[in-house]
């Protein structure tokens, strides 16, 4: 894996092919769990862990599995890994497990995991696939975190609420009340809020991309024009 390849994988995962904003895969957790930053980041990191493991596992066995049996084997592997992550979370971060609840097993059905196994890990080496899992997972986590932040501030007027579920009672002091005495804005917390916020995020990303493209074009066209002249 060359340096440039590594850069490409990371850039693809975080921005260019971002799972949440470009591929639009894995919308189930995006909509359901991104109502606070803590929930969103926790599920994002759990997904990242699963994707890293499943990516390297699939890459490791890619030459052994017969072509026609590959999808069942991938699904099997992903299901096993997710169940292991679920058991570990249940055992060691129980209170967070209670919050994320049914969304952890749902990582199995998150298309992004299988999609990366099929489109990347089955064609690349172990290290590249693990890196792809990390980059894709972190890209998704970042989108989830931003969505969670927007929805939490608009919906509840706080940031980082629920941190005590992971780090114990002492973490309650870290909770930031952005808007004091806030009455709450229900739609931001409910699924429609997730759709609207995600739509705005995608719009923002496309706008940024278009602007960057335009800048490049403007920089090259005058140059071409002067050359022609």
């Amino acid at each position: 894996m060359t340096r440039q390849e590594m850069k490409d994988i990371i850039w693809n995962g975080l921005w260019k092919q971002n799972a949440g904003m470009v591929q639009l895969l894995g919308l189930c957790p995006l909509l359901a769990i991104s109502n606070t930053v803590v929930n969103a980041v926790s599920l994002g990191l759990a997904t990242t862990l699963v994707m890293t493991l499943s990516g390297s596992a699939v890459a490791a066995i890619r030459e052994v599995i017969p072509n026609e049996a590959r999808i069942p084997v991938y699904v099997l592997l992903i299901a096993v890994l997710v169940t292991i992550v679920q058991l570990l979370m249940n055992a060691y971060i129980h209170s967070l497990y209670l919050v994320l609840g049914i969304f952890i097993p749902l990582i199995v059905t998150n298309c992004i995991v299988l999609a990366r196994a099929e489109s990347f890990a089955s064609k690349n080496g172990i290290r590249a696939s693990a890196l792809d899992g990390i980059a894709m997972g972190l890209g998704l986590t970042a989108v989830l975190a931003v969505l969670g932040g927007i929805r939490e501030v608009l919906g509840k007027g706080t940031l980082m609420s629920g941190l005590d579920l992971i780090f114990g009672e002492s973490a309650k002091s870290i909770v930031i009340t952005v808007i004091p005495d806030y009455q709450g804005f229900l739609i931001a917390i409910l699924p429609p809020g997730a759709f609207i916020a995600l739509g705005l995020l995608i719009g923002l990303k496309n706008w940024l991309d278009l602007r960057a493209e335009k800048k490049v074009r403007e920089a090259t066209i005058p140059a071409a024009a002067t050359q022609a002249a």
């Binding site: 599995i65 026609e68 049996a69 592997l77 096993v80 169940t83 292991i84 129980h94 229900l186 917390i189």
Partner: protein, 231 residues
């Protein structure tokens, strides 16, 4: 031709079987490694809730392990067997922690635990699981609001039947504007649980069921039910 195809399918099947075995083995190992910890943390979680509604001076036994079976009962909103934790003081029945379900919450079933002292006084109520609207009906959760503590100290004697309602419906219980379906459901469920306790108190405190053949106890429970219904 068919021979090679059969061979290929066998090869595929063997492959699948192989990976299934590996997967199962991995799961089995993780399950065994985490089982104890998971059980402990689940018990701790329940104990935390129970400790909030059962004063530590009210019992001196191992309340987590003094468990009785309660047959499914409409008054508890349960459609399958639930358990009751029994607290005893100097060997005498002192307090029971019942599981009850309010079936008519805004978002479906609301699972509760209700602690009731021997004299019928309610030690407290906590919501175990619910699906109420976040920010609107979820103030029943102690993590969000102290509303659920309104039940502490009430009893069937203190509040007559018509008092077991939200203020809006002519009862004595406070609620929060915007969400009345949720507290209505809970008040009804707690009221019914208190009535159930009054009717079945002695049964609930019966010594650990392990000593008795399982069938006998269910038969007795059914008999008790029949009596209650004919009354």
């Amino acid at each position: 031709m068919s021979r090679t195809m059969a061979k290929a399918s066998l090869h595929t099947a063997a492959n699948l079987l192989f990976f299934t075995l590996i997967g199962t083995a991995m799961l089995a190992v993780t399950f065994e490694l985490t089982r104890e910890t998971i059980k402990e943390s689940e018990e701790k979680e329940k104990m935390k809730l129970i400790a909030q509604i059962v004063p530590p001076t009210a019992y001196d036994n191992d309340i987590m392990n003094d468990i009785g079976q309660v047959a499914a009962n409409e008054m508890l909103g349960s459609d399958e067997e639930t358990i009751v934790h029994r607290g005893r003081l100097n060997g005498e029945p002192a307090i029971a922690v019942l599981e009850a379900i309010a079936p008519d919450g805004y978002g479906g079933k609301i699972k509760l635990i209700v602690a009731i002292h021997k004299d019928g006084k309610i030690g407290g109520v906590r919501v175990v699981t619910h699906n109420e609207t976040p920010g609107l009906g979820d103030y029943i959760d102690i993590a969000k609001d102290r509303w659920i503590t309104v039940f502490k100290g009430t009893s069937l004697e203190k509040s007559r039947d018509r008092d077991w309602k939200v203020r809006k419906d002519g009862g004595t219980f406070d609620y929060m504007a915007g969400a009345t379906i949720t507290p209505r459901a809970i008040i009804k469920a707690v009221h019914k649980a208190a009535q159930y306790f009054a009717l079945h108190r002695d049964e609930l405190f019966k010594p650990v069921a392990q000593d008795l053949p399982v069938q006998d106890t269910t038969a007795e429970n059914n008999k008790a039910f029949g009596k209650e219904k004919t009354k």
